[in-house]
Symmetry: C2
Subunit: 492 residues, 2 copies
């Protein structure tokens, strides 16, 4: 059993401990890269399944584009190369060669295999995809193209953190092409709404959907939207982004189409992505000092059965009853492990399954078997309910629904209690010198003023909420007029 | 509509044309890398779903390991580095820098970002995985580890061909760890059987399961098994491999475990993989001069509805009936497109859907609507069956089963007619100077003799079939004694 640091003692250490105890991921020997262990990858598979189904319902199809991008491609869109040049993995050779160094053989890149043009491991795929779209798009009849890709990307990171910031990460990246600016904008907003739905209804994590400020736009976008969640340390985490790319990439890669009247124009684009970073958000939104807490919809296992016994005779009876129970639960919960390890006490097993975030545990001892019942215990609030064996599957279905709703409600409560509306700069400074949180404040709209606030306080504008009220006011920092509030927070 | 070269005229051109016409894949601007287009990727998704379910039924779980491998890791297993050094992508820098060259700005790798140790893009993941297994395995209680990974890998290829040989490809790689040699051997054979099942029952492609000769073993394996399929040009294609790695990687990465008696030993390993190359095998096994033919279990669309009309009044009636038909077919076939494009004649549509390999087409015209029927046409044999609309779903289910079985039967027939047993070297040479095929011949077991045959004829031993009869004989080349026949062929 792993020790878990308490949140109040060291939040960052707690996060690492939760991941270790649940065996979600591990640091790899490769600087900045992580290993996603089976329990963690199963969460990613659940995320993939839910999102992929939703994308397909909306008419998207999956495809796969190359990992390696010619250096010159990246350079075609000026803002794009500016955004990614400082953090990319560059392939320069295609062969290793054995050489003798100080009497020992070692392998080095073979100088004769130096590439004519260096290749970059994709940090994102706009460039290589838009180069293909030039081949595929001639007429308005070829539009829209609604393609998504599940892939790995690399962005060189100096300070890494499991799931939240790693040199390599997994994600989906949608890349769509449209005949009009309005259609592209609509698509960008539609996918933002998919992410909002996914965070709230599936991850049970409330988010604020809005537009990023110009300073924070994706490299090459005309508008970037995000969903922003609040972690338990009152910091914000950007959960996913959706970009209206205008005609920027079409211009850079010369992708035009002929409309119904025969006129030619550049194609309009969007891109949108959600990554394994979302697992970091998931962990930090719900987990507690006992370890991982997962919403049932994404849990790698929804339930576990722990038989309880004192001697061999009791063991076979309770394990057998436990197996029958697990089989009965399968239609509701999928595979339900039965913890029949004989060298561990029940208490130790409970702790372990709690650390792993399994939402519901069923305990079944000899007296339960005799009474044809078991005890259902919820991970997040430890609520215990005696349940007749015959009604266990139904009880579990109801309990999973209750947990899913409860986790969202609890997270909403935490966010509300850590959200304020501020009018005065002194209050703003005081908030972020103390406990922090989300502050809805007026802002003049000037990027220089935004940058100054960030420099002074390390607090940034998370986004300009789509559903903010129309309300005039004075900028929290400079006092100039503002047309509405934006959301400030410290961020991951 | 695309033109498709006839197989008899130019087999290799035919293969390219089939892929282009069905929009399965495209060459990318990145040397050696392909773009898998939505129709092709949908086949890969079907392959993934079937295999992943099977792996999980057998107790495997998925995980994800880093894309980048330190150069020194590759070098730890001597045969392994020997096998992959000549074809790897080497990352040497982590930053691009803007410089002025001849008055123009350009980006180059920043010399200050030179990595201390070069990283290799994984050509396969044994090394990085076994380095982690050292952390995860202490005792026999930690075994077995049954992990699979879905990932991209890079092996630098000079001569590339869509799906069959590309610098980057997608695959699954299983990596298991066991307490005994027998268990590892059993696992390697179990997964070989999964691949045999997958090729025959799902891909409808008969294969020979067997052991590779020592010359052809995977770099670092003590035994390599393969399934070998026959393409329509009578060449063999290695469909998937499963390796018994013995203790080689455990020794190289110092992975030991304590057994129940307290003794320490190195861990036993397997690895096994199937890649997007299998899509090349799928295309070449079944397709014909009209384009792609797909077995229903892997088809990206199982059926299509083509309404037929002469005027607007007929159009709305047949399109409406077509949509109702497609909805009725959905439980059997998933999404069924209704081809209501109004600028294309039915004949053109038929050709296009045939080129795309959709197994069944339903035609419905005004007279069909009046008679409450439609015509069901199979892609591979063009069999036409009138079907009452009310019974269409049932008829499609039966027809898909017939097609799946028929494609396997046809492929088996082609393989049988291109398979011989040979005793004399002259006959062997004559066969491969003429049409080629599979030749079951005796072989002395000497790698030098095997290499000489390959040098003289470009024909290789595909494998030593697991179910070959015990039969003594004389080596086809040198005449020395042989304990049984092996399968020779030219290979992709």
């Amino acid at each position: 059993m792993a020790e878990i640091t308490r949140r109040a003692d060291d939040y960052s250490r707690w996060y690492q401990d939760v991941i270790q105890a649940a065996e979600l991921a591990d640091y790899s020997p490769v600087r900045g890269c992580m290993v996603i262990r089976p329990n963690g990858y199963a969460i990613w598979e659940n995320i993939q399944r839910v999102l992929d189904d939703r994308f397909k319902e909306l008419g998207h199809v999956n495809a796969y584009f190359p990992l390696l991008i010619p250096k010159s491609f990246l350079a075609r869109e000026a803002a794009h190369v500016e955004g990614f040049a400082k953090e990319c993995a560059i392939v320069t050779h295609s062969r290793l060669k054995t050489v003798l160094v100080d009497g020992k053989t070692t392998v080095v890149p073979d100088p004769e295999s130096r590439l004519e043009e260096e290749l970059i491991i994709r940090p994102t795929s706009e460039t290589v995809i838009w180069d293909m779209y030039r081949k595929w798009i001639q007429s308005y009849r070829d539009l829209p193209i609604l393609i998504n890709q599940w892939a790995n990307v690399v962005r060189w990171e100096m300070r890494t953190r499991l799931f939240l910031r790693t040199t390599e990460f997994l994600w989906q990246e949608g890349h769509t092409a449209h005949a009009t600016a309005a259609e592209a904008r609509e698509e960008a907003l539609r996918m933002l709404e998919v992410y909002r739905w996914f965070y709230e209804e599936v991850m049970a994590a409330p988010v604020i959907a809005g537009a990023k400020t110009a300073n924070e736009r994706f490299a090459g976008a005309v508008e970037t939207y995000s969903v922003e969640a609040m972690m338990q340390d009152r910091k914000a985490l950007q959960g996913a982004t959706s970009h209206d790319l205008g005609q920027n990439f079409a211009r850079a890669f010369d992708v035009t189409f002929q409309d119904a009247e025969g006129a030619r124009d550049f194609v309009w684009a969007t891109s949108w992505g959600l990554s394994t970073r979302s697992i970091g958000a998931l962990i930090m939104t719900h987990s507690d000092d006992n370890g991982l807490v997962l919403p049932p919809r994404l849990a790698w296992r929804k339930a576990v059965v722990v038989p309880i016994w004192k001697n061999d005779g009791e063991m076979s009876a309770t394990v057998e009853a436990g197996r029958a129970l697990a089989a009965a639960l399968k239609p509701v919960a999928g595979v339900v492990p039965v913890d029949d390890r004989d060298k561990l006490r029940p208490g130790g097993k409970y702790t372990e399954w709690e650390q792993r975030g399994v939402p519901v545990r069923f305990e079944i001892g000899p007296r339960d078997v005799a009474a044809a019942q078991c005890v259902m215990v919820s991970r997040h609030d430890r609520k215990k309910t005696p349940v007749p064996l015959a009604g266990a599957a139904r009880a579990l279905a109801d309990e999973l629904a209750r947990i899913q709703a409860d986790l969202l409600r609890l997270a909403q409560g935490r966010r509300e209690s850590a959200t304020v509306r501020l009018e005065r700069w002194d209050d703003f400074r005081a908030l972020y010198e103390a406990e922090g949180g989300f502050a809805w404040c007026h802002w003049c709209g000037d990027g220089a003023c935004e940058a100054r606030i960030q420099e002074e306080t390390k607090v940034s504008i998370r986004n300009i909420p789509l559903d903010r009220e129309a309300e005039t006011g004075a900028c929290i920092r400079c006092g100039r007029p503002s047309a509405g509030r934006v959301v400030f927070a410290q961020a991951y």
